[in-house]
């Protein structure tokens, strides 16, 4: 498989990787995750969930996409039409840009560059722009409130997220996501390498802070004030309908998936299995079949984390805006700073 790709120019390689990734990974993964989530949510709420489209509602995603695509493309009369139309695309592009650095296997990656963590955190905050201009351009008071809340919240939670990741970066000595995966799976806990060294064990506080920040970044309950169905009537999404709403909708679920992927790389060992199981020593000695098994492992971990995200979402009520900010600045940020200090001290000590 490698020999096949190696012979063609770099741009074609990238294109092949992207197309292959979308068709082979994202589409089926999206369908499965979607059905899984909806079924899970329904069972938690003593409902049946999607039943009609396909066996056990497995084609529900296609049914909904079809429905949204048929709808009229409406926009408010006084909306700033150009940026109104642009906003969902910005939010969605932020999601897809995130996938670009996610490694799915030893060779199954789109791009592999040194500042991967930095890039991921940077592009994830592009969605703030989309939310803010969606709120502004809708010419709707509810949307404006939602957009402003969204901007305040996403900026506040960007910080604990970055600070939580710094602990991992210190421990792994690298910002390359691929090497963070390798460092976890090739590592050992006090000389015992049966499990590698997934950072969820050593960076548990970081993991919790990261997941809370992710929940806020995704604007999922308990941090969903920008959307706030019952107060702001979907906030910045109020005026969107048809396929523009669809794009927001997809990016909401897709971003949940992508953040779960990044969390699984940073804390759960990503695509890898502990190298000691098969006697591998470095990334070059890994067998080729990991390019197929790796994505599946990663997918499982992602499902697990998405399940946790959604579980919290469906069982908690939401904070108020000021309580949310207080929580970020007074609890999460000091805690993550302490975590960084402890990590660096221990890193130097050992």
């Amino acid at each position: 498989m490698l020999g096949l790709i190696a012979g063609i120019p770099y741009w074609a390689q990238s294109l092949l990787r992207v197309l292959g990734g979308i068709v082979a990974v994202l589409l089926p993964a999206g369908t499965i995750v979607y059905v899984f989530l909806f079924k899970m949510m329904s069972f938690m709420q003593s409902r049946l969930g999607p039943m009609e489209a396909g066996p056990f509602g497995s084609l529900q995603l296609f049914a909904e996409v079809g429905k949204w695509l048929q709808k009229e493309d409406l926009y408010p009369e006084r909306a700033d039409k150009f940026i109104f139309k642009m906003a969902p695309l910005i939010v969605l592009s932020s999601t897809f840009l995130l996938v670009a650095v996610v490694p799915f296997g030893p060779d199954a990656w789109f791009t592999n560059f040194e500042a991967g963590v930095f890039y991921a955190l940077a592009v994830s905050s592009v969605s703030v722009l989309g939310i803010l201009i969606a709120g502004w351009a809708s010419a709707n008071k509810y949307s404006l409130l939602g957009g402003l809340r969204g901007a305040g919240q996403l900026i506040a939670y960007e910080l604990p997220m970055v600070l939580a990741v710094i602990g991992v970066v210190i421990q792994a000595d690298t910002m390359n996501l691929q090497q963070i995966v390798v460092a976890q799976n090739a590592g050992s806990i006090f000389g015992w390498d049966g499990l590698g060294n997934p950072y969820i064990l050593t960076q548990f506080i970081g993991f919790i802070i990261f997941m809370i920040a992710v929940q806020a970044e995704l604007t999922q309950t308990p941090f969903d004030m920008p959307i706030a169905e019952s107060e702001l009537v979907s906030g910045y999404m109020t005026e969107y309908s048809g396929f523009r709403f669809l794009i927001f909708f997809i990016s909401e679920f897709a971003t949940a998936g992508v953040f779960a992927l990044i969390a699984s790389i940073l804390f759960l060992g990503g695509w890898g299995v502990p190298f000691s199981w098969f006697g591998w020593t470095s990334i070059d000695s890994i067998d080729n079949w990991m390019n197929v098994v790796g994505p599946l492992i990663m997918f499982t971990k992602m499902m697990l984390l998405v399940f946790v995200i959604m579980w919290v979402r469906f069982s908690y009520p939401r904070f108020r805006e000021d309580q949310l900010q207080r929580f970020a600045w007074k609890v999460l940020i000091p805690l993550s700073l302490v975590n960084i200090m402890a990590t660096s001290v221990l890193k130097v000590a050992f």
């Binding site: 003593s46 019952s230 009537v233 009520p317 939401r318």
Partner: protein, 390 residues
């Protein structure tokens, strides 16, 4: 401004002054936000006009009437037995409870009283409709606060109670079962055992909701100390029901007045809470559902035998006179002032519904709160649009 009363005028001037102060201090311009009439948090078509400074409410006023159906006027062209079909659409979640005070008022005018068994069954159905009504709002609290799961539990378990009401009366939402002098029918076979089972289920539902919402830190942070109504203010604004008891006033018409109903035949407790905040109001409702299930069980234990209908003429003509009867409905005090001229139908009926008075406190209560708290406060005040607009 000439049409406004003194109190309203003062409130208006005060709000203008507050606006001016805010504008001088921060040089910001307030934003007027129309919450409703099509807003999901208003359970229908209540419109709340709120002037905001940032996310803080400077001034708010409920504007109702979007669903006015003119029931008071409509009753004047109906005969007495026909009125129940109208009035049980006022508070559509606890319909049977709407019929009772009107029928009691008519009976009072005619000088008759329903036989004991009918009184017992009336009370049981009254409490069942209270359970059906309030258990739904317990789930709805979650939705208003962003947790979407509790409402599904509420709809699931309320269904059992509605099935009971349907079994006894034939109508799930609008029983239209109460008659002057008694009830249309006796209870169906198997109703008693079924009711006992459902009451156990409802108590389990209350435990579930208590664990899911009332024990949740975020729920407490969102409701404790929010929308505090002191005892005096609650009395001044004429609040009733759980909103009043949540402010520490021990007042329950079921206990405090003598009516030909069966509440005084069994022991039960009136719950009050000293805090007066949103949490207190919600908590009172939770306790009341529990208490109602116990009342129903105790009434079933002591259900007397006998007829369910007193001797009344085939064509009902209510003698000339005026009567006022009010009962403790799921939403609060609901009463009918019935004026009869000795004809087939009432000459005039004045309906005092609980929600209309309960939301009259909204302008006072919403001043200074944040936008998200508007929703919690409205949810904890718990109104039903039909009950406001009639």
């Amino acid at each position: 401004m000439t049409m406004l009363g003194d109190r309203q005028q003062l409130a208006y001037i005060a709000s203008q002054a507050a606006d001016a102060r805010v504008n001088v201090e921060l040089e910001t311009e307030g934003m007027t936000l129309n919450i409703g009439p099509q807003h999901p948090a208003t359970h229908g078509t209540l419109r709340i006009i709120a002037r905001l400074d940032g996310e803080q409410v400077v001034w708010a006023e409920p504007s109702c009437g979007y669903m006015h159906r003119g029931y008071e006027k409509l009753t004047e062209v109906r005969t007495f037995p026909q009125v129940t079909a109208l009035v049980n659409r006022i508070d559509w979640l606890g319909s049977f409870a709407n019929e009772v005070p009107f029928i009691l008022a008519a009976e009072q005018l005619m000088g008759i009283e329903a036989p004991p068994r009918a009184q017992w069954i009336r009370t049981i159905l009254f409490e069942l409709s209270r359970i059906a009504n309030v258990s739904l709002v317990l789930g709805d609290l979650g939705v208003q606060l962003g947790a979407i799961t509790p409402v599904f539990f509420a709809f699931r378990d309320r269904e059992y109670v509605l099935n009971l009401i349907e079994g006894a009366t034939g109508g799930r939402f609008h029983p239209n079962f109460d008659r002057i002098g008694g009830l249309k029918d006796d209870l169906p076979a198997g109703f008693i055992d079924e009711t006992r089972a459902v009451m156990r289920k409802m108590r389990k539902f209350c435990d579930e909701i208590e664990g899911l919402l009332f024990g949740n830190e975020i729920f407490e942070a969102r409701t404790r100390g929010i929308g505090v109504i002191p005892r005096d203010v609650a009395l001044q604004y004429g609040l009733s029901g759980a909103n009043l008891r949540g402010s520490g006033v021990d007042w329950d018409l079921r206990r405090d007045q003598k009516l030909p109903m069966a509440w005084d035949k069994v022991d039960w407790k009136v719950w009050t809470h000293p805090d007066g905040d949103s949490y207190a109001r919600c908590w009172i409702r939770l306790q009341e559902v529990r208490e109602s299930t116990l009342i129903v069980e105790k009434l079933l234990d002591s259900l007397p035998s006998g007829p369910v209908m007193a001797k009344v003429p085939r064509i009902i003509k209510v003698p000339e006179g005026e009567a006022w009867v009010s009962t403790e409905n799921p939403l609060g005090e609901m009463g009918y002032y019935v004026v009869s001229k000795g004809e087939l139908g009432p000459f005039r009926v004045k309906i005092r519904s609980a929600s209309f008075n309960n939301i009259s406190i909204v302008p006072w209560l919403l001043k200074g709160v944040y936008v998200p708290d508007i929703i919690t406060i409205l949810a904890s005040l718990y109104f039903i649009l039909g009950d406001i607009d009639r």
